[in-house]
């Protein structure tokens, strides 16, 4: 490891320690806490230890898929991108990002699916398919320990702003906005669950309730269904715009993917 990288690692660790040590009574922009902070010690231990973290099974499959040729082009991700540990470093930390071809923001899963179609000419990678989640988990792992770094791309601004507005809009039969739970009531208990601050640092996650890995989109759709609102289809602009807003709320926080959640 280069000295600079080692220094960055240490800084990241210091930052993470400060965040964890901050008292819940003073949750402010500089005391943001990742979802893992309010989990039980057992679930936290499961996330911390790669040998126990079930999401690492998806990572392992993603690593195998990375160098497996697919589609009539007969090319693997590795044929264009080389060693993911170098080329994919920081990629998850800066997604969602602007996609030139579709002239829209895309999240990491959509980016991988697009690469698969455009450059490998292979069949589509459906949202929440094992392959898409596996590759997404493997690529996300390469940003572990880095700061969430939303791109300062002005083409994203309108989408980010739309995401912010959606976050504050009361929706569904329960007439609740994301912000009412995740800004105003984070840390309180909704039935048996502690409400997290909704930072997307750990995605894709393994969720014990799902008994599977899942994407941020799946999590957002779950919250929408929970308030009995319309649930947009996977890859819908609403979900990506919300993810852009979440990334900007979490800017500077440490990527800890793949996470484990109750």
């Amino acid at each position: 490891m280069s000295r600079v990288a080692a220094g960055a690692r240490v800084l990241a660790l210091v930052a993470a320690t400060v965040v964890l040590a901050a008292s819940p009574a003073c949750v402010q922009s500089d005391a943001r806490r990742p979802g893992s902070a309010t989990m039980s010690p057992q679930t936290r231990a499961m996330q911390r230890d790669d040998a126990q973290n079930p999401a690492m099974l998806w990572v392992a499959d993603g690593e195998a898929l990375w160098s497996r040729a697919a589609g009539p082009a007969g090319r693997a991700c590795a044929d264009c991108h080389g060693d993911a540990r170098a080329s994919m470093r920081g990629v998850a930390a800066r997604h969602p990002a602007y996609d030139e071809a579709s002239r829209r923001p895309v999240d990491l899963g959509q980016r991988i699916a697009a690469c698969r179609q455009r450059h490998q000419q292979a069949g589509p990678l459906a949202p929440e398919s094992h392959e898409r989640l596996a590759l997404e988990a493997y690529v996300a792992l390469q940003s572990r320990g880095m700061a969430v770094a939303p791109p300062a791309d002005p083409r994203l601004d309108a989408h980010r702003e739309r995401g912010r507005a959606l976050f504050h809009q009361r929706i569904g039969q329960l007439d609740l906005a994301c912000a009412q739970c995740h800004d105003a009531n984070a840390g309180k208990r909704l039935g048996g669950s502690t409400i997290p601050e909704a930072h997307p640092t750990g995605y894709p996650i393994y969720r014990l309730e799902w008994q599977s890995a899942g994407s941020l989109q799946r999590r957002l759709r779950g919250c929408m269904g929970g308030v009995r609102a319309e649930v947009p289809p996977y890859d819908a602009p609403d979900l990506v715009d919300l993810a852009l807003h979440l990334a900007s709320r979490a800017a500077g926080m440490i990527v800890d993917a793949p996470g484990v959640r109750p």
């Binding site: 809009q169 569904g172 609740l176 208990r189 039935g191 319309e230």
Partner: protein, 136 residues
């Protein structure tokens, strides 16, 4: 559903708010506190314990978003309770508590729920009857 005429009646009965209360019953039929208890503790209909704690020892998981319902029947009259269940937004437009008997002013309601209040008029009366018994 066979036999259930689709749009036979309006799903929400009109209410008259007086001060911070709705004095008149929504149905004229007295509420049933036992049914109200079943609604309040249900995770499918009332959802109350997602946000509130209360004297319901059989329910392990109770929320902390709203005030504890213990003693609420001593703090508030049945008429005041009725307004808080029907539409607390009339008292506090920013409240987290959903309006349980109102269908207008909502956005992006899922198909299965559109045009339906969280609780029908008699269920509101049942819940009010239960809340009124929570006096200590």
């Amino acid at each position: 559903m066979a036999g259930a005429p689709a749009f036979a009646q309006p799903s929400v009965v009109p209410v008259t708010v007086v001060g911070d209360a709705i004095p008149a019953s929504l149905t004229g039929v007295p509420g049933d506190a036992a049914r109200g208890r079943a609604i309040v503790t249900s995770r499918r209909s009332g959802l109350c314990l997602l946000c509130h704690a209360g004297p319901f020892p059989e329910e392990r998981f109770q929320g902390t978003l709203g005030p504890d319902l213990r003693g609420v029947g001593a703090r508030l009259s049945a008429a005041q309770l009725r307004l808080r269940v029907v539409d607390g937004r009339r008292l506090n437009p920013a409240t987290t508590m959903p309006a349980y008997h109102r269908v207008d002013g909502l956005a992006r309601v899922g198909n299965a729920w559109r045009g339906k209040p969280l609780l029908d008029a008699q269920a509101v009366e049942d819940v009010v009857a239960l809340l009124a018994t929570l006096t200590d």
